[in-house]
Symmetry: C2
Subunit: 192 residues, 2 copies
């Protein structure tokens, strides 16, 4: 009977996934929870703040899943595994992902911090590829860019043909990693 902040966020996220971000309203959330709209203000500051919480929760969950996916792997393998996990989350939670994109434009420092955690994971994995560390930021920008752009543009197909899109993403990452290797691999021959 008693509702927690976490309940509110979960309910809102479910509405986003089912009906899209534009159908998330305090009214709809309150109805789902069987309380009156103003009661939500005991848990949240505003609709905007709620949307940010949805995004932050989603980003954190993604980060956790991606870390799990990377365990026991290094190099290209690890990066591709993380990429597939990223895509899978989008397929499972399109509404949350839409909210995350919204937060790209309406984010706060907190948003930036969570994104940094994601960058930090990818950085560790990229370094395990033995790329020249000098270029690591360049490489990171490219990897995050591909991942975000590719998955976003393929999402519409991902619902009907998830396996095809997963395979295609893996192949696309192979291609990009090939380019990165060609350009940024450390040449250790100097020490022979």
């Amino acid at each position: 009977m008693r509702i927690t902040k976490s309940d509110v966020i979960q309910t809102a996220a479910d509405i986003a996934d089912k009906n899209g971000l534009s159908n998330v309203s305090l009214k709809a959330v309150a109805e789902s929870l069987n309380i009156r709209t103003p009661s939500l203000y005991n848990h949240i500051d505003s609709l905007e703040a709620l949307l940010r919480e949805i995004a932050h929760n989603g980003m954190k969950t993604m980060n956790e899943r991606m870390m799990q996916a990377a365990i026991g792997k290094i190099g290209d393998d690890a990066i591709k595994s993380v990429g597939i996990t990223y895509l899978n989350y989008m397929i499972e939670h399109p509404g949350i992902y839409e909210t995350i994109q919204w937060a790209t434009w309406h984010g706060t420092e907190e948003t930036g911090k969570i994104f940094d955690n994601y960058l930090s994971l990818l950085k560790t994995l990229a370094l395990s590829c033995n790329f020249n560390p000098v270029n690591i930021d360049e490489i990171l920008n490219l990897l995050t860019g591909v991942l975000h752009g590719y998955t976003t543009l393929q999402l519409r197909y991902a619902f009907t043909k998830p396996d095809e899109v997963r395979t295609a993403l893996s192949s696309a990452l192979d291609t990009v990693l090939a380019g990165i290797h060609q350009k940024y691999d450390q040449h250790e021959k100097e020490h022979l």
Copy 2:
């Protein structure tokens, strides 16, 4: 004194660029035009429809600029030139670009058609690279993904350091194209 549909869209697009998509309201647009809010309904069907028109206009303008940028060029050069043009438009019109992203989720058939025109341009350019035509769709998905993702994620830096980001994008495209060449180049030796 008399207002046209085009005026309405332009005004709304300007507000988006100056104050962000979330500040585009019929009220704000009407005030900018010095008319009453309901009068806007003589030109548009709804707020949503207006936002879609902003996006469509922007996409068409981008397509035109990219075609211009590709004239007289082929191969990697042409693709990089188009990419820089894409980035430049985003820097100039962040609000319109935000609306275009919104239209990714709330688009219609029309939205798809305009996007197809963009794909068609890139396809022509990609074919001028002498990649194996069999893989052209794969290549296209990768190129559009990189372009969209990379520019979106770098946009925040692009306002303060546009030249750096432009150079970085060009370099990122080089890397991706290197990977694509390695994997998909036609080997014409067969005919020797």
